[in-house]
Amino acid sequence: MRILMSLVAGSLFGAGLFVSGMNDTTKVQGWLDVFGAWDPTLAFVMGGAIIPMFFAWRLTHGRKPLVGGDFPAPTAPVVGHRLVIGSVMFGMGWGLAGLCPGPAIASLSYGGVGGLVFLAAMLAGMGAARFIDVRLDRLAATA
């Protein structure tokens, strides 16, 4: 059941990325390029995705997931240095190449070496993150 749900969710996600054009780096960069040929598509994708998710969150109240267990507890509304520094780093990479993690995986469907190189670098970065995290914590402790 968990695996079937994951396949359905992943397929919807993959179809949505394709249909919305978010696998195309020119559309993502077009949205960020406010001084160039600005492309508003990404805002519609975000809005379109937030609507069903908003109702999904409301449906979680007083219920359990289909497979059992519990829904993820709300995170404490704490904005720490990790959230800000990590998001800034992610945004810089996102702006440079126009790919975020979902489309980076989906880019494998399009063939070509570039997507593979990006994915390899991203996986390496994910592996290295915990070491950088430790350094950030030390810096924050001394600051």
């Binding site: 994951s6 359905v8 998710m53 440079l96 979902g102 990006f118 670098a121 991203m122």
Partner: protein, 143 residues
């Protein structure tokens, strides 16, 4: 071009539905960087199969949908500057793990839950992405 926003909205809706299935079915937040990152650092070993199945769905759907797309070849239009690709991949990998989320987790799932962390992360990665793109494209002319 003028219909791109419609496809954006439709594709976004599919992404949101995927997130809803993942949440209501498996009780988990559909975040691409978290699903991938758990495989990289081993923290998601117990759920490795459902993570891989999810990612398989993301890769397979564009391949299935491509023949239906009547506008000629589809491409991610990723830059061929490998220095940029590698630097961007590393930044996205490290950043999303430190911030504990990306466009899907913090953006779609976080904002729809009115999570302060999701909203703050999204503001920072969009600002960082926009500034980076404008700097490298409009000011430096490098990408």
């Amino acid at each position: 071009m003028e219909q791109d926003w419609v496809w954006g909205l439709v594709g976004g809706g599919l992404i949101g539905l995927g997130g809803a299935v993942y949440l209501l079915g498996n009780g988990k937040i559909m975040g691409a960087s978290g699903i991938i990152g758990g495989l990289v650092d081993g923290s998601g070993r117990s759920t490795a199969i459902e993570r891989l199945v999810f990612l398989a769905g993301v890769v397979i759907m564009p391949i299935l949908l491509m023949p239906l797309y009547g506008k000629g070849t589809v491409s991610t239009h990723l830059t061929s500057n490998w220095g940029v690709v590698i630097a961007a991949g590393l930044l996205v990998g490290v950043g999303t793990r430190i911030a504990n989320g990306c466009t899907s987790g913090h953006g779609v799932c976080g904002i729809s839950r009115l999570s302060l962390r999701g909203i703050v992360a999204t503001v920072f990665y969009i600002l960082a992405g926009g500034i980076t793109l404008v700097l490298f494209r409009q000011v430096l002319g490098l990408i």
